[in-house]
Every structure is written in C-alpha cells, then in structure tokens.
C-alpha cells in the first residue's frame, strides 16, 4: 500500500464533522495490534491534523486521565475542533467498526481456535503489534534523545511498569514528581 504522503505546510484541523468522523473511522478500521501507532499515522502523517509535538502533548494528557487513552483522545480533539458534536462524532468514528469486528471475530474464533497454526499467526500479529507500539514510542521520543534526565525517566518508567509490573497508581505519582523536578531545573 501507499506510504503516508509527505504533504507540505503546517498542520490544519479537519474540514468538518464528516472529515473528523472519517479520520477516526480510518484509525479504528485498521488498528490491528493497538490503536496508538495508527492514531499517530493518521493524525500526524496522513491527514496532518496535528503537529508531532501536539500529538505527544494530547497523548500525555489522555494517558493521565482514566479510561481508554485513544478514546479519550478522540473526545479531547473532537471538542477542541468542533465542541460537543465533535467529541461525540470523534468517539463514535473510532469505535464504530472495531465494535462489530471484535464481535464477528469472537464468533469466528469459536470455530477456529483449536487450530495451532491459527493461534501461532494470531500470536505473531499480537507481538508485532507490541513492536509497533514501541516503534511509535521511539518516534515520539526523538526530541528527548539529547536530554539525559528525560531519557532516564523514560527508562525508569519502562522498567517499573513493563518489567517489574509495579502498579501504575504507585509509579505515576512518583514519576510525575521526579519529572516535574527535572523540568523545573531545565533538565527535561
């Protein structure tokens, strides 16, 4: 398929509610293995509704709000661009297709789950999906490469949550306090 077109010029918000709906629909429709890589691709690279820094910023906000991150993102961005109708339309666009696809898959899977090759393929796709999420994090983290304190916070959060599985309710406050202290000193 086509690579994301490198359209020039500064990012521009969606043209209208229909455009917004289709944009989020195209995120949900293709979001195999996690929504985040697709959200980044559509919002920043394909449709250029957001600058890369802007994307990171909204994502950060949505991660600290409870609930599904990208669904929160659809609400926050929908509101920013079109108020209440935008929030509703963005959210529905994101959820519409995946809702039916997951139910359809659940019905199909009941017949196929005994096949070891089906399980192996599904496992491979899931792992590759995890890899895509890590690749997206690398893209988002490019601006931090020359800031050692920020890189240390990235590593500490990864180790605590990913490797040690410390509950987020403990990790978040500690990490945010440390990061705020680093940011105040101009280190992050």
């Amino acid at each position: 398929m086509n690579p994301a077109p490198p359209s020039p010029g500064p990012p521009r918000p969606p043209a209208g509610l229909a455009d917004l709906f289709l944009g989020f629909l195209s995120i949900g429709a293709r979001a195999f293995g996690g929504v985040l890589p697709w959200a980044h691709r559509v919002l920043v690279e394909e449709r250029r509704w957001l600058a890369p820094e802007d994307f990171s910023e909204v994502l950060a906000l949505c991660q600290f709000l409870p609930g599904p991150n990208i669904a929160n993102m659809s609400v926050v961005l929908g509101r920013r661009w079109f108020g209440f109708p935008g929030a509703v339309i963005g959210f529905l666009g994101l959820m519409a297709l995946p809702f039916f696809w997951v139910l359809a898959l659940a019905m199909l899977y009941a017949d196929w789950s005994a096949q070891p090759s089906v399980r192996a393929v599904i496992a491979g796709v899931g792992i590759a999906g995890g890899g895509l999420i890590i690749g997206t994090a690398l893209k988002l983290g490019r601006p931090l490469a020359r800031k050692p304190a920020a890189a240390a916070i990235v590593a500490a959060c990864f180790i605590a949550v990913g490797l040690l599985r410390v509950p987020l309710l403990i990790v978040l406050p500690v990490a945010v306090l440390l990061a705020l202290a680093a940011a105040r000193r101009g280190l992050a």
Binding site: G34, W38, Q63, A120, A151, C157, A188
Partner: protein, 170 residues
Amino acid sequence: MLELFLHFALLSLLAVGGISTVMPEMHRVVVETEGWVSGAEFTQLFALSQAAPGPNVLIVSLIGWKVAGITGALVALAGFCLPAAALAWSVGGLWERFRDAPWRALVQRALLPVTIGLVCAGGYVLATPEGLGWRNALIACASAGALHATRLNPLWILAAGGVAGWLLFT
C-alpha cells in the same frame, strides 16, 4: 444490566493510564465476584480483543456480549467509556483554556518522558504475553525497527509478524 453498567463505570475511573492497568481488577470482578465468565474464557476474550483491530477496551464489550448478547456488549462498553469520556471532556476544556499558562508548558515537558516510558512498557507487555523469549524479541524488535526506520504501511509489518508467528511458533 444495570450492574454490568455500574461495574464497568467504576473500573473506567480506576483505569489511569489505559485499560491494562485495570485488567487484574476486572478479572477479579468479572470472574471471581460475579462469575460472568470463567477464567479461561476471560483469557480468550482478552486475546481476541488484542487480535481484532481497534482499541483493546473492546474486551469489555466481549464480556458484555457473553452476559447479555449485543445489548450487553453496548451497555458494558458505554459503562466503561462514558465516565472517562465525560472526565476527558471537562479536563480537555480546562487544558485548552490554560494553553498559554507557564505552568502548562512545565507540566507538558515533564509528562512527555513519563508518557513515552509508559508507552514502551505497554508495547513490551503486549509483545511478551508468555514472558520474554528470543522469538518474541525478534518479531517485536523487527517490527519496531521497521516502523521507526521505514515509511512502510504498518499493515505489512503486522502481516509479516503473522507469517513470522506461523513459522516460529508451529
């Protein structure tokens, strides 16, 4: 049905950082307390919600579907999404209002590395469903590298992951 809605509404507000945070708690409520699905079914539904395109939050609608069909699926998903969406709505508004406040720039700079670390951790958790092994590491690193270094459509990367899974795991 009301119970389904309320349980998921409560879980929604606990899910700071995304749905993976509340998976243990959801398991406790859905399997142990309410007995809506068995433990094995829960694991299967989780795998399905990961394999299907779309947010992983759809495991909630699969559980609802098991309990009360399509209505249950809608009710459970609404329960899990609406409270969080309402919060996102109001906080998002505040956040826009303080666009130029100096403290916002500071908070933003501080949140960026934390966010990236958590995203990495989320990817790692998804890539190692049964612990770390060389096969997982190979597929995940190759996918991450391909996404980072090329403009390849991610669908191709996922397809390659499926082929690699078939070759390596059977």
